[in-house]
Each structure stands twice: as structure tokens, then as C-alpha cells.
């Protein structure tokens, strides 16, 4: 089953086109890993897919309310405890218990701790546990493994695999190997936007001076 289809997409960062002519599909049970050098537009693409910014051209089609987005920052409130942070997102998404997510990301011992007293890796694990309580099938992840140690990367890899096995899908930008050998890799370098004089699309920045 197709969860996400991207057709001839062009995205902009700060009004300048960074990617163009990008097309791919993501099916249930599959993971797609985005690769590319810094600045190629991985984060911009993921933000566009999450609906935080409009695409410059092309279409994104997916069923409504299927996507859970995890950004660079985890969106944690430092004075709330681990359980309170997670419970908040569970209530926002209208899903039930946070226990399985705590268990899966090995946070049970920390559940009463305030988020401000967590280490960077523990915060990241809490941020990723948030995905588990959203109950959404398509995960869009931006560098999910930053500041995770090897054991936590394995833990997270297992969580992703379980999510895929349950019929979910994942789209992630990452530099390191999650151990997901079945994941497809999409290199974004060939889709780098050309300058307008070589036939690339003009960004809104160019239009302002046209």
C-alpha cells in the first residue's frame, strides 16, 4: 500500500530553491533513507513534507493525518517529567497509554525525572518515544540518531523495524547506519536545484527582483 507519493517536487530554503524534480514513493512496511551532503536540503525537504512550509512546485500526496514528524530538537519541556512530556503528546494525538513507549525506548527508570536533568542521549530517546505515542503510520525523521550511543541506536533501529513490521513506513535523513538493511537509500545530490539561467525554477526570492 502506498503511504506517500512525491511528484516532481521542488523545495526552497530562505526563498532559494535547493531541490527540484524530486519524485519518490513510500509504501507501507518500507523505510527510505535520505542521503546527501550538508546543505543539500534534507531538513528542508522533510519540513515541506511535514507541511511546515509550502513546496515551490510539484505535489505531495498522502492520506490525511498519517504523518508524525520528529525534528532536530525534541520539543521537550525541561520542568516537566519524562512521563508528563510523553503523556502530553499522547493526549494531543488522542492515543492511549505511554507505557509501551517508555518500555521500548528504555525510559522506565527515568519516567519521574525532570527532562532538564536528562543527558542529551536520554532526551533524544524521549523525543523518539514521542513518535511511538503518536500512533501515526508515517514517521518523518530528521537525524534521529544524533547524540545516541551505539546501544540506543540499536534500540531505535528495533523500534523502527517493529513499526515497519506493523504496517508503518519511515522516511529519515541520517548519516549513520541504523542496521536497517532493508531500507532503500535515496541520494539527493542529483536533485540539487540548478540556477535559473540553466533552466532551474525561479525561487520567490528571484521573483521579487524580476
Amino acid at each position: 500500500m502506498e503511504m506517500l507519493r512525491v511528484d516532481n517536487l521542488a523545495v526552497t530554503r530562505g526563498g532559494l530553491p535547493v531541490l527540484e524534480g524530486l519524485s519518490f514513493t513510500l509504501e507501507a512496511g518500507h523505510a527510505l533513507v535520505l542521503r546527501g551532503p550538508n546543505g543539500i536540503g534534507k531538513t528542508t525537504l522533510l519540513r515541506t513534507l511535514a507541511g511546515l512550509q509550502p513546496p515551490l512546485a510539484g505535489t505531495i500526496s498522502m492520506p490525511p493525518e498519517t504523518m508524525a514528524y520528529a525534528a532536530h530538537s525534541d520539543g521537550l519541556k525541561s520542568t516537566l517529567s519524562v512521563a508528563e512530556n510523553l503523556q502530553f503528546w499522547a493526549s494531543v494525538y488522542g492515543t492511549g497509554s505511554i507505557e509501551p513507549a517508555l518500555e521500548r525506548m528504555n525510559l522506565r527508570q527515568l519516567s519521574e525525572r525532570a527532562a532538564m536533568s536528562l543527558s542529551a542521549g536520554q532526551k533524544r530517546r524521549l523525543g523518539l518515544a514521542r513518535l511511538l505515542v503518536t500512533g501515526r503510520p508515517v514517521w518523518v525523521l530528521d537525524e534521529p540518531t544524533v547524540s545516541l550511543d551505539a546501544a540506543s541506536v540499536v534500540l531505535f533501529g528495533e523500534a523502527v523495524r517493529a513499526h515497519l513490521a506493523a504496517g508503518g513506513a519511515a522516511l529519515m535523513a541520517t548519516h549513520i547506519d541504523l542496521g536497517l538493511h532493508e531500507a532503500r537509500v535515496l541520494d539527493l545530490a542529483p536533485f540539487k536545484a540548478r540556477p535559473p539561467e540553466e533552466g532551474g525554477i525561479k525561487g520567490s526570492f528571484d521573483e521579487a527582483f524580476a
Binding site: R47, A50, G51, L52, Q53, P54, E65, M67, A68, Y69, A70, A71, H72, S73, D74, G75, L76, K77, S78, T79, L80, E84, Q87, F88, W89, S91, V92, Y93, G94, R130
Partner: protein
């Protein structure tokens, strides 16, 4: 939505949340005025409605820049924008939380502060009514300024410049309601205007704030 309200209230009460700051600021403003103006009760009584309203305005302003800035910095605003709640609803709830932590304490404490200002005894009822009707508009208008300046470093001063002029109608009719009430004059017009402004602000401004946030998140 209720989860968001509870979270915001909980954050405000926890350490560093700033609950009570507005009230303390209000108290200091009101205490300082008699030092500046002199202790004559008659003069103080006459300017009391205006000073109390100005104090409420400034106290409200003090915590406005935190409404969205904190959520923006830790990334939760991005996540809220992609969550299954409309951004307009998020804005409204944030304004409500701001009012409960800032406006409501001012309403409750107004009689005490009126005492400090030699407010006339006939005016207490009207002072509380005017603040109760007017302060929600201050919070909601504040979300608009906070939404416009959300991505800016040091946006606090710009926020004040943007928001204070929008507070003028509420200030005019709020203070006028108390003045007329104190002198047993007809209070219908300022009362209805004040309530009408608040109702219109609550109905319209959340949409503008949500639009401003969407632009700022791009």
C-alpha cells in the same frame, strides 16, 4: 486541547514559569505611583482607574513574549503545528492559559490594589468588572504580537511596540467604565464597548495569530 492548557498552566507554576510575576509587577507599579504623585488621597482617587489599568496593561505585557518563544526555541511549536490540533486552537488555548496565569490574578487582586490607590468605594465593583471583561482581550491581542515576533531574537521590545497601540481601545473604555461607575453615571456605553471589543478580538485575532505563526515557521 485541554492537555495543552494543562501543560501550559503546569509549566507556568513550575520553577521559572513566571506565575505571579505579573501580579508582583502590578503591585510594584501601583505602590510606586503614590511616591511619585504624592500621598493626597483625592488626587490618587481620581487617577486610580487609569493607573490600575495601565498597571494591568504593563503586567500583561511582561509575560507576552514567553507565549510562543519558549515553544519555538525547544522545537515544540514545530511539533504542535504538525499535530492534529488546528493552530488557531493552539493560539486560543495559549491565550487562555496566559489569561489564567496573568489576567485572572489581576482581576482578583484589583480590590487590594484599589485600596492602595484610594479608589472610591463606589468604583470597586466596576474596577473588577472592567478588568474581568477587558483583560481577556489583552491576552488574545498579545498572542498576535507574540506570533509576529516569534522567530526574532530580542523580539520583546518590538512586541511591546506592536501590541501596546492595539491595547488603546480596551484601555479607553476600561478606564472610562470605572470612572463613570465611580461617579454613578450611566455605564452602559463603555460597558458594552469594552465587552464588544473583547468578543471581537477573541473571534478574529486567533486566525491572524495562527497565520503569523505559519509564516514564521517556514
Amino acid at each position: 486541547m485541554i492537555a495543552l492548557l494543562l501543560r501550559d498552566l503546569r509549566l507556568a507554576v513550575r520553577a521559572g514559569g513566571g506565575f505571579g510575576l505579573g501580579l508582583a509587577f502590578f503591585l510594584i507599579v501601583v505602590t510606586l505611583v503614590p511616591f511619585g504623585v504624592g500621598p493626597e488621597g483625592q488626587i490618587l482617587g481620581r487617577i486610580a482607574p487609569g493607573i490600575l489599568w495601565l498597571g494591568a496593561l504593563l503586567a500583561c505585557l511582561l509575560s507576552l513574549d514567553r507565549i510562543f518563544a519558549l515553544d519555538f526555541e525547544d522545537g515544540s511549536l514545530d511539533l504542535l503545528a504538525t499535530a492534529p490540533v488546528p493552530l488557531e486552537g493552539v493560539v486560543t488555548i495559549k491565550a487562555l492559559a496566559h489569561w489564567i496565569t496573568t489576567g485572572l490574578p489581576l482581576v482578583v487582586a484589583a480590590p487590594v490594589f484599589g485600596l492602595l490607590m484610594h479608589l472610591e468605594s463606589t468604583a470597586y465593583f466596576w474596577m473588577i468588572l472592567a478588568l474581568a471583561l477587558g483583560t481577556p482581550a489583552l491576552s488574545v491581542l498579545g498572542t498576535f504580537g507574540a506570533a509576529l515576533t516569534v522567530g526574532l531574537k530580542r523580539g520583546g521590545l518590538l512586541l511591546s511596540l506592536l501590541v501596546l497601540p492595539l491595547y488603546v481601545p480596551t484601555l479607553i473604555f476600561g478606564a472610562e467604565l470605572v470612572r463613570r461607575g465611580a461617579q454613578n453615571m450611566d455605564t452602559n456605553v463603555p460597558l458594552l464597548m469594552l465587552a464588544g471589543i473583547t468578543a471581537a478580538v477573541i473571534a478574529v485575532v486567533p486566525f491572524a495569530s495562527a497565520a503569523a505563526i505559519r509564516v514564521n515557521l517556514r
